[in-house]
């Protein structure tokens, strides 16, 4: 079994970090895993994405053109990645920054106002990325929030450890948020 994930958004939204937490989670679950970023001329405000592949056996390819689950945190990424979702796959859309619109009928759409939730419930829009991972956990059913909590400990450096409780709160909020069928 192999599953591909893409997380995409503006530079500065924590897209690469969210991917790193997810990949660490798969490692903690003893899966084979790779993480690959779009790298280069990206900057704050530009678009950025990363691909995470988890597999029971050897990962078949690090870079994938399509994925089972794609998280898009802004409109530009929604526009770009809708066509990259595998048939029957899922796209998780940050409806705070992207229009609620279903252009395909062979994939599952999950719309959630991720940025607004982070601002209103956590008081910090920087938590959007980890909140989105909570939704990934619930939708994909492939990784638990408990594992992702442990993954956070791996990724967050020593001098930022005080931020872990707030991030765990974000994970739970994402997981428990009632998904809006649209």
């Amino acid at each position: 079994m192999e599953k591909d994930f893409i997380i995409a958004g503006f530079g500065g939204q924590g897209v690469l970090l969210a991917g790193e937490v997810l990949a660490n989670g798969f490692m903690l679950d003893n899966k084979q895993v790779t993480w690959y970023p779009s790298y280069g001329a990206e900057m704050r405000g530009g678009t950025v994405n990363c691909t995470v592949v988890c597999a029971d056996e050897e990962v078949s390819a690090v870079q994938k053109s399509t994925a089972d689950c794609i998280v898009v945190l802004n409109q530009a990424s929604f526009d770009r990645f809708t066509s990259h979702v595998k048939k029957g796959g899922t796209i998780i859309v940050n409806s705070s920054l992207a229009k609620i619109e279903k252009l395909r009928n062979d994939i599952n759409y999950v719309f959630a106002p991720i940025t607004d939730l982070a601002q209103e419930k956590l008081g910090n829009i920087k938590m959007s990325n980890i909140l989105a991972l909570g939704i990934v956990s619930k939708v994909s059913k492939i990784i638990s929030t408990q594992t992702l909590e442990k993954a956070l400990e791996n990724v967050i450096p020593a001098h930022r450890k005080h931020l872990i409780p707030k991030n765990i709160e974000a994970l739970k909020l994402g997981y428990e948020y009632d998904l809006l069928p649209v």
Binding site: V33, T34, W35, Y36, Y39, G40, A61, V62, N154
Partner: protein, 355 residues
């Protein structure tokens, strides 16, 4: 994110940080470098870690300066390295020729990006020829190790330090932007090789002994011939002792796919798909590019019907394969100029076109 502490458990890490950590754990005493994408994390990590450990770190004013600083440090017998990418490795070619002639254990990490010229920053395997042949003057060879996973980025960096000192010869770790930038679980290992005694040649101050000179200059023609014979006897020894490769399902294979580095990952998957389709496909991955597994390819040329080289360049290793099999079997190329390797599905469909 750089992992600062060294533990025995698995950590998720970028290839660049794996290389840097391996260098530190190999006892690298001096790092000299100049930043360039996609390998800048190596210098970034070293700038903090080397200072913390009381070792040498210099952010050099240019790549020429960096590689010459490595030569200077190596002449005193310490482990020293630099790291760079494609167009900047070009600037180091003169020094590599000198370092081969001076027989200095220079370690160079080359993380390939697109070329020629400034090219772009995306992954590439376009420096196969630059690494295995070199752009310096005269007859010389550098050892070249090509990792395929983040774990191998770590393991082969340690090996590069060992081989460089064992053979007193520049050794290149040839990675690419994909390996440098991707993350994968990695297990740290202590340096597994013996320390090489270099007391007979290195420059440590002449107190109590005659002075030593390390130079690449032989004014008498005969001396230079003798020197080259000795140098090439060493390369022959390296070929006998150090040729390393990995192969899968070659026993009954009709088609042999040859690839190195990050491309070999997709090629293995492609071979698996081919087998499911009933095609008898095997794979061979050279781990050392010099020395190249010529003998093994000659043996396999007796049993396979076709060899296909898969590369992210316009066809470079394919020349070495053709030289190795010397017309015994047809050798084809599946390639892509620059970027991440062709997908397994694309490789399979191109194999089907070729047969």
């Amino acid at each position: 994110m750089a992992v600062e502490t060294i533990t025995n458990k698995k950590v998720l890490m970028k290839g660049n940080y794996a290389i840097a950590n391996a260098a530190v754990m190999s006892g690298c005493q001096c790092y000299f470098g100049y930043p360039i994408t996609p390998q800048s994390e190596i210098g970034e990590f070293m700038s903090g870690k080397m200072q913390e450990l009381g070792r040498g770190y210099v952010s050099a004013e240019s790549e020429l300066a960096a590689i010459n600083m490595v030569m200077g440090a190596c002449s005193t017998g310490v482990k020293a390295m630099t790291s760079s990418s494609s167009c900047a490795v070009s600037l180091m070619q003169e020094a590599l020729s000198y370092a081969c002639s001076d027989e200095l254990p220079v370690v160079l990490v080359s993380v390939m990006r697109g070329g020629p010229g400034l090219g772009n920053i995306y992954p590439s395997q376009g420096d196969y020829i630059q690494s295995t042949r070199g752009g310096g003057n005269g007859d010389y060879r550098t050892l070249v190790l090509a990792p395929s996973t983040v774990q191998e980025c770590f393991d082969l960096t340690q090996k590069a330090f060992y081989l460089a000192h064992k053979y007193k010869n520049p050794t290149i770790l040839l990675a690419d932007g994909l390996l440098g930038q991707m993350m994968e679980p990695l297990e740290f290992k202590e340096y597994p090789y013996p320390e090489v005694d270099n007391s007979s040649w290195c420059l440590t101050g002449a107190k109590g002994r005659d002075g030593r000179i390390i130079r690449s200059y032989a004014p008498l023609a005969d001396n230079q011939c003798k020197f080259l014979d000795r140098l090439f006897a060493k390369y022959k020894l390296i070929e006998e002792n150090e040729t390393e490769w990995e192969e899968q399902n070659t026993k009954d294979a009709d088609i042999l796919l040859v690839s190195f580095g990050s491309t070999a990952r997709n090629v293995r998957t492609a071979a698996k798909i081919c087998r499911e389709k009933g095609l008898k496909v095997g794979t061979l991955r050279p781990i050392t590019l010099f020395p190249f597994p010529n003998k093994r390819l000659q043996e396999l040329a007796q049993s396979v019907k076709k060899i296909i080289s898969v590369e992210v360049n316009m066809g470079q290793m394919v020349d070495d394969i053709r030289l190795a099999v010397n017309g015994k079997v047809p050798v084809e190329l599946i390639n892509k100029g620059v970027g991440t390797p062709p997908s397994p599905e694309e490789i399979v469909s191109r194999i089907e076109e070729l047969i």
